[in-house]
Structure formats: structure tokens, C-alpha cells
Symmetry: C2
Subunit: 564 residues, 2 copies
């Protein structure tokens, strides 16, 4: 049989990456990264609004063209590759990143009238200008439609679809009024490739709809008009101009248009896979399946698991998203996360200690020489709030146990440990509600580069830490989605698990828990949970705070004795 | 009337300072500092015992001779000064710093047999090798003689007399057995100057006896033999070889011996004032009197107040020492303290941030530009435990409220604020138990140099911060004691308050509380007390920890609005 290739396109926060992948074994034969050209690494900022983060849709289009062309040019010289053998394209993006579009499905921001209006551009996932609207949505839903909050962990976020759109209405009503519809970036790019010119023809993925827009088949799609009218009648009216149905991955979002086929030098008509969020396709590219938790560890961490749709997954309190079909069809996609992981270490090393890469390395090596518990420190990992399992952005950091001898390396280690305790809290919560987790696969820069970090995670979670074989799991996952969407007849696959088995892999290196360390970390995790519950406002907490410092000193003294 | 001068000698941790002071106005006409010559700035250490800190009595003797000779040589050229006009000598020292002596009142360490035995040297105040003994003494006293603990705050310390002497018996019984008696450094130096050659003739000050050796006239002096026998029968036996009576300041400890008079070029027979602790004579030199709290702010802080002996001062829980006559005769001396103040900032700047003097200055200037509450941070000042009002060395530091934007300067300020809250807790406790505090006078390097620190203290305490006029208040206080001991007939004074009024002063600069800042700090102090009581194990605490981070964020947001 002829060789077949798919293209995966990954829209990150600062760049677009395209890969050309061999369907037989997942090997990357071509790759190209397009960095957004405008200032601030492609992010539009407003000095007067620190929480604002937008992107110019023109950069998305340019990035699409340049990244795919570059990846194909990179693949071209490879033996056995030919452009005609590309059987499909998959796309993943950041999200929720909604943008307003006109009646022809073109971004409003491309219209000269709106080019200088920030609200007309794409509202990047990390735009937090809509905090007030998010709080109101949560309040109104709690009072009138609590069912809407159940699958998203009980709290609506300022990062999500409705908060942003409502905020647009409040601050830039001209943009809101001019928008024929709104679209998630994850749905927009496939629609661009497919040449869609009517907002109604955009195929919407359940991934964005279910996790960010309170969409569920249980209540007939998007939230009822009566609910949206409580936000604003204009938001209720907008519902008619959005979409009735969102789909799981696997179904094509469209076929490559003639004009984009010409632009890219590919065959017209090849399928475009349903778009998805980077974390979800990253999980696919890391081999997520029943019983496997994928941790995408970067500045923050995103945890993805799936559970067979046949199992009835109850709501899991504090887990921000459980959506049928959001990661792979036939499974509940379960998403959790930690708001600051790499960012927490970056804060410590760069902002507080005033160092750079070299200091990261030296603190890491010094921290590696410490025994668990030896520092006497315990931290909460909440410098950027707590996403899971407390779902509270208004929480902050805590460090406890320091003496006059405490070193920066000890604090560095305590911060890693804090994120590991946070990770354990997520795993325990999932298990408590029936989600099997037999295997943990990590991906992202920290997973590949920071052995100390991974060993601490293995020890704290009491579970081997495996590492995904690819360093670009979202793009690889998009390519997997494209291979499944194309189907076996075209040289792809009919089953997701088959595609994953062939196209994804693990690195040979893994990290095993050490029983001695595990025992110490079990005690420390217990203290972490006491503080977590007390400061996080968990009802019925039984923290013995008066003994916390003394218990840490006991653990420290024992650790020092053992290592002495 | 002819001019009169006194000499004040201050035994610090690393040096001996002597000053020659004009009795008329407290002006220093000569000064000399003798740095201890042995390694480690005169402190004997043992690499195997990090809590050990001893000093060689030979250094004390050399320091006595050199510092006084130097100060006199410095004074000699001054117009109007003559050695014959020196009418008395006062001495203050660190404490509790006990040393074993032989039957001729000579330090055992000067005997070649013991020169190389660390236990035979002076046990410096900060020697913490006796933690086990201290804990046992507290236990035994609580069970059998709770009255012994009442005046010292309820807990006996590893820094104090009996802990150290008992530990000597446990680890170096040969030294213990060879000791005819033990003496506090504060009593030893006056005895040396007076030429005392029999331990029984050493005049003991109530200051050391009452604060460190559980001496009280209420139970006939030192603790009863029955109590000491519960530690060890040999300790009980030692009681007979110590002293029956300790005296308040004002009474002479002796007269200058012929040999030391010759050695120093002074008149033989001039009175030697009763020795005292540096903090107490520092308070005298800062003008302590009824209603005035003196804060000696350095690496740690010592708070000294006096209350008329006629007032019945109840026990004050958590205040480590209330001793009749310990600071000045006719008053209860009340002593409190914070274990880490300058040390806390030093830790942050030098150990964590890896900087030096320049970084101290730049963090201080950056921190000064912040409004109260603007950082959103709150810290507990317990990196070295809590001396007052919790009396618990097994407490540790806590920092709370940090985000990914928190800077080192914000933390620097939060640490200063934490020590100010700790200071306020002490003041509130004293007032609660009837000690009037109408005026706060600060001395020490931080008080003189760090304006930011002093302004924060004024704002947090809601009280002007005054600064002592002298930079060497302990030495000046010793000179005041010498002037009172000499009496008006000799050119000194008969009343302490008269001597203080003439010989001590305030700097023109002071720090006034700012009402806006005070209001914010009142709220922050409330949160500090919630954490203080919760982690400090104060019974019946009603901390609402679940809202702590949110309350700090509210205060922060309001502060940012005001300063924006």
C-alpha cells in the first residue's frame, strides 16, 4: 500500500507549528514554526488593562499559510514523501479563544472599520478582562440553571466564551452589534481551510462548545435563551446566530478548498479533521485512553483523561470539564488543570531570585541533593489561583516552615513539591469519582527536561511517570485526528486506538516512585491537604494548624538524621 | 564644681566597647572598641555541634584592659578631661553567659588543664546546646514548682543559666566537678575589677539572677534544693556554692582594686556599679522610665519597660521576664523580645536573594514606594521561633498572598511589616496587663539607619517612634549606672531619673504614624493575629482562614486604586 501522511497544525499562544507525519509510525517528516509577527509575540495588549490579551486574526491566516508551506518544504526532500500522499489535515488551537465574524464568516478585525478596535480581534484564552461577567454568569446559573454548571466544575470562568462575548457587548457594543456570529479559533481555522463563507456552515466541535460554552445535548445545545436573556437580551438574540449542534472529533469539519489547496500545494478535497483544543489533541498525541492520565506540563498543567461513554461518569466536583466526545468520540473527555507550574518556578528563579537559565539549573541541582522533608518547608501552589479542585482564582500562594537558614534551592524544591501535591489532589479526586488512572503519561518541556521535577512527581503520586515519545504532542494528535478522519481506505485508520497505537509512543526513560520518599511525601501531602482545605474554604476541614510547624520540624529532623 | 566622668563598658557578642562619659551631659569624650582576637569573631565553635557558642574568658580580660585603656587614651587630649575625674565604672554584658570558676574566682578555662575543654569556657548567650535540659526544666517546674515559671513567661530557655550548667554536668562532668562556683559574665567583670578572689564575695545582680536563674525573694532566692535535686543531686549541691542574695542596680558591686587601678591609670577605690545585661543598661541609656518602652532593634529585638514597684504588676503571660529591680531599683523590669528582626531581613536579602548591602538599600528604596497593603502579602515573623508572646522556639516562618508578580521588594517589606505586627502584639499584651506605654524610644542600628522600617513601625503601632540620642546606649547606660552608684557627693547623681534626664537624650528626628496607613495596618494586623493565633496554638482562636487570601486581595485592590 502507498505511504500516507497527514498534517497537524498547532496554534499556540505565540506561534503556529505545522508537522507532516507518516501515518504508518507517527514519524515527523517535516516541520515548521511560524512566530507571530506583531509586537509582544503576537499578543495585542492594552497598557491600561493588564488583563487584556488579544490576537490579530490576520496573523492566524498568515501563520496557516506559512507554517504548512514550510513544513511541506521541509518534508519534500525526504525519501518516500510526496504532497499527493497527504490524506488529511488536523488543527488544534488555544481556547477558549473566540472571535467575532461577519456574515461571510470573515473576522470582523479584517474589516478596516474595526482593525483598530481591540474587541474585534480574537480574545485569547488568557484574556481576563471578563472577570465581572464570569462572576455574574456563575451567580445567575447557580440561581436559575444549576444544571449548566455541573459539567464545568460549578464555576464559570473569565477565560471562557460567554464571559468574553458578554464583556464585548458591555465595552464595545458596536463590535457586538456588527458581529454576524462568533467562532472559536479551533473551529475557525478548519472553516478557513474548507473555504466556508457562511457562519451557519462552520462545523463546531464539542470540545470547545462543551468545555467553554455550556453546550450539552442534555439541554438541547447551547444554554436556553431564557438563561442568556438574564445576561442581556442581545446575548439571547445572538444564540440564534451561533449554532444548534456541536460534534465530537472524527467527523470531518470540511474538505480542503480549491483555493487553499492551490495556496499550499495539496490535493483539494482532502478531509479537514474537526478542530480541537491543544491540550485535548496533545492528550491524543500522548496516547490518552481509558485508564491513562495525560499531564501536559508547561507554564501551567493541563490534565486530560477519558472514560468510556458507556460508563456513567458522575459530575466530579471541582473538575472543570467533563464532556462526552470532547477528546475522542465514544469517551467522556475529562479535563483538569493547575494554573501555575512552570510559571511558579519561573517566578521564583527570575522575579524573586533575579536569575535566568543558569540559576534554574543550579537551583535544580542543589534541590536534587535534598531529601524529601529535609527543608521543613511546605508551600501551596496557588500563586495564580487554583483551577482544580477548588476552582477559585482568588486564592494566592503560601510558604511555610522557613527558618533563618532556609535557602533559595530549598524553596525551589518546595514549590515543585507543592505542584506535585496539587497534581495528587486532582488524581485523588478523579479516582474518588470512578475515573480509573493506571498510567500517567507526561508531556511538555518540563517533563522532558527536568528529572528532579519528574522524580518528585513519581514519589508524591506514588506512580511511575512516563514521558510521551513526541515533543510536539498537540500537533501529532492533530495529525492522528486527521488520519482517523481520512479513514483506512485513504491510508489512515478507522479506530482512534489503532491510530494511537501506531502513531504515538513513549520515551524509553521513565521515573519510578521510591518507597522511602513516598512514605515521607504521604505525610507531607496530608499536611498540604490540611492547609489546602483550611485556606481553600473546604467545608468540614479538620486542620490542626497549631501543630503544623512542629510536625514539619519533626519530619525535617528525621530526614536530616537519615541523610546525615 | 569640678567636672566628673564615668566609664561604661559594654561586652557585646563580638567585641568590648568602653566609653568615657561626661556626667554633666552624657557627652562621650573617649571611646575604644576591642575586637575579640580568636577566630570566628571571638566565638568558639564546634563543627559537630552547630548550636554551640562559647567564649574564652582570657579574651574578656584582655578586652577589659584594652578597651578601657583605649577609651582613656582617646579622652586624654580632650579639654577639661583628667583621669582623676573618673568617679566610677559601669559594666554591661550579654547574658545569660555563665562561666565556671575555681575557688579563687578565676575562670576554669584559664587553668591549663581545661583550656582545651569547650565546656570550661563561657557559655555565650546564644549557645543552644542545652535544649533538652531546658525542656526538662520546664516540665519539672510545671509539675512541681509552677511558681518558678510565672515571672519568666512560663517556659525555661536553653539560653539560660540552669540549662547550661546542667548540660555541662551531662556532657563534661569533670568541668562541673572542678567548678567551685559559676558566675554570669555581668557579675564576673565587676568582680574582676574589684579584685574579688573568693566566689562568695562576688556581688550578683538581680538582673541576671531574676531573668535567667529563677531567683526571687518570694521563694528565698535561687530555686529550692528540692527542685534542683529533681534535675540532678549535683545541681542541688551546687546551689550552696552559688549565692544567697542578688541585688538591684545602684548598689556598688565593689571598688576598683589597686592592681586594676594601676593597670588602667585610674584612682583605686572608685565604685564599680552593679553589672547588668546590655539590653537593660541600653534601656537606661535610652531613657527608660514609667510609661516609656525602649526597643533595642538589631538582629533581634529586645523590649524593655519598667513599672513602679509600688504598682502590683500581675504575671503577664508570654512575657519572658518581670523582675523587681532588674533594670532600675524601685521598678519592676519587664523584658520581652522578638527572635528575628534584622536577621529576618538579612536572611531574605543575603541568603535567599544572594545580595549584600547594595541590595538591602535598593530593596528598601523599592519597598518604600509601596503603599500599605499594596503587595497583598502577609508574613509571620517566626523564622527563628517566637520569643514573645508565644514563647515557642518550634515555630517557623510563613508567607502568604504571593502571586506570580510578587517581587523581592514586596516580600522584603512584608517581612518588615511582620516584625512590626509582632512588636504590636507585645505592646498590646503589656497594656492589657496594666503596663503603661505612652512613649516608644528605639535604639540600635536599624532604628538609626532604616527610615522605612521606622515609619512602618509608627504606622503599625499607631505611635510615634522616637530614637535614642546615643548610638551606644548600653555603654552609656552603664556610665549612667556608674554615675548614680558614685552619687552626687562624688559629682554623680543620687537619683536614676535625674541622671537619665541629664545624661540621655533623643535624636531630633522621629517618625509619626500616618492615619491612612494606620487604618490599613489595623486591618492587616487583625489578619496577622488570626494566623498568629491559629498557627501559634492560642486556644479559642476564631480565624476565618478560608477568607484570608480574599481579604488580602481586597486590601491590595483598594491600595492599588488609591495609589493609581
Amino acid at each position: 500500500m502507498a505511504r500516507a501522511f497527514t498534517i497537524g497544525i498547532d496554534y499556540g499562544t505565540n506561534s503556529v507549528r505545522a508537522v507532516v507525519v507518516d501515518c504508518a509510525d507517527g514519524h515527523t517528516v517535516g516541520t515548521h514554526v511560524f512566530d507571530y509577527p506583531s509586537g509582544n509575540q503576537g499578543i495585542l495588549l492594552d497598557p491600561k488593562q493588564p488583563h487584556l490579551a488579544r490576537q490579530n486574526p490576520a496573523d492566524y491566516i498568515a501563520g496557516l499559510r506559512e507554517s504548512v508551506r514550510g513544513a511541506l518544504a521541509d518534508a519534500e526532500p525526504q525519501r518516500g514523501f510526496a504532497r499527493e500522499q497527504v490524506i488529511g489535515i488536523g488543527v488544534d488551537t488555544t481556547g477558549s479563544t473566540p472571535l467575532p465574524i461577519d456574515a461571510h464568516a470573515a473576522p470582523l478585525a479584517l474589516n478596516p472599520r474595526f482593525t483598530n478596535t481591540l474587541a474585534a480581534h480574537a480574545w485569547l484564552w488568557k484574556d481576563h478582562t471578563s472577570a465581572h461577567e464570569a462572576a455574574r454568569i456563575t451567580e445567575i446559573a447557580r440561581e436559575h440553571h444549576p444544571e449548566l454548571l455541573a459539567p464545568i466544575g460549578g464555576t464559570y470562568s473569565s477565560e471562557w466564551w460567554w464571559s468574553k462575548i458578554w464583556h464585548c457587548l458591555n465595552v464595545a457594543p458596536d463590535v457586538f452589534d456588527a458581529a454576524a456570529s462568533w467562532v472559536e479559533l479551533a473551529d475557525f481555522i478548519p472553516a478557513v481551510l474548507a473555504g466556508v463563507t457562511n457562519p451557519r456552515d462552520i462545523v463546531r466541535c464539542i470540545c470547545a462548545a462543551g468545555h467553554k460554552a455550556m453546550y450539552s445535548d442534555a439541554w438541547g445545545g447551547l444554554p436556553p435563551k431564557a438563561f442568556l436573556a438574564r445576561l442581556d437580551p442581545k446575548v439571547a438574540d445572538l444564540r440564534d446566530r451561533l449554532y444548534d449542534k456541536a460534534w465530537p472529533s472524527g467527523r470531518p469539519a470540511g474538505q480542503l478548498s480549491e483555493s487553499w489547496a492551490t495556496e499550499l500545494g495539496l490535493r483539494a478535497g482532502i478531509p479537514i479533521a474537526m478542530g480541537g483544543f491543544d491540550a485535548h489533541y496533545g492528550a491524543v498525541g500522548s496516547g490518552v485512553t481509558s485508564g491513562t492520565l495525560v499531564k501536559i506540563i508547561g507554564t501551567s498543567t493541563c490534565d486530560c483523561a477519558v472514560a468510556p461513554a458507556a460508563d456513567r461518569i458522575a459530575e466530579i466536583p471541582g473538575i472543570c470539564g467533563i464532556v462526552n466526545g470532547s477528546i475522542m468520540p465514544g469517551y467522556f473527555g475529562i479535563e483538569a488543570g493547575q494554573s501555575a507550574v512552570g510559571d511558579l518556578l519561573k517566578w521564583w528563579v527570575e522575579i524573586v531570585c533575579g536569575g535566568g537559565e543558569a540559576l534554574h539549573a543550579s537551583l535544580s541541582s542543589e534541590a536534587a541533593s535534598l531529601a524529601p522533608g529535609e527543608s521543613g518547608l511546605l508551600a501551596l501552589d496557588w500563586n495564580n489561583g487554583n483551577r482544580t479542585i477548588l476552582v477559585d482564582t482568588r486564592l494566592t500562594g503560601l510558604l511555610l516552615g522557613q527558618t533563618l537558614h532556609t535557602t533559595r534551592a530549598e524553596i525551589y524544591r518546595a514549590l515543585i513539591e507543592a505542584t506535585a501535591y496539587g497534581a495528587r489532589a486532582i488524581v485523588e479526586r478523579m479516582r474518588e469519582y470512578g475515573v480509573a488512572i493506571d498510567r500517567v503519561v507526561c508531556c511538555g518541556g518540563i517533563a522532558e527536561k527536568n528529572d528532579l521535577f519528574m522524580q518528585i512527581y513519581a514519589d508524591v503520586l506514588g506512580q511511575p511517570m512516563l514521558i510521551a515519545g513526541s515533543s510536539q504532542t498537540p500537533a501529532l494528535g492533530s495529525a492522528v485526528a486527521a488520519a482517523v478522519t481520512a479513514g483506512s481506505a485513504a491510508g489512515g485508520y478507522d479506530e482512534w486506538t489503532d491510530a494511537q497505537a501506531r502513531m504515538t509512543s513513549l520515551k524509553p526513560k521513565s521515573f519510578e516512585p521510591r518507597p522511602d520518599a513516598q512514605a515521607v511525601y504521604d505525610r507531607l501531602y496530608g499536611i498540604y491537604r490540611e492547609l489546602h482545605d483550611a485556606f481553600g474554604g473546604v467545608a468540614a476541614t479538620r486542620a490542626d494548624l497549631a501543630s503544623v510547624m512542629k510536625r514539619l520540624l519533626q519530619i525535617k529532623e528525621r530526614a536530616v538524621e537519615i541523610t546525615a
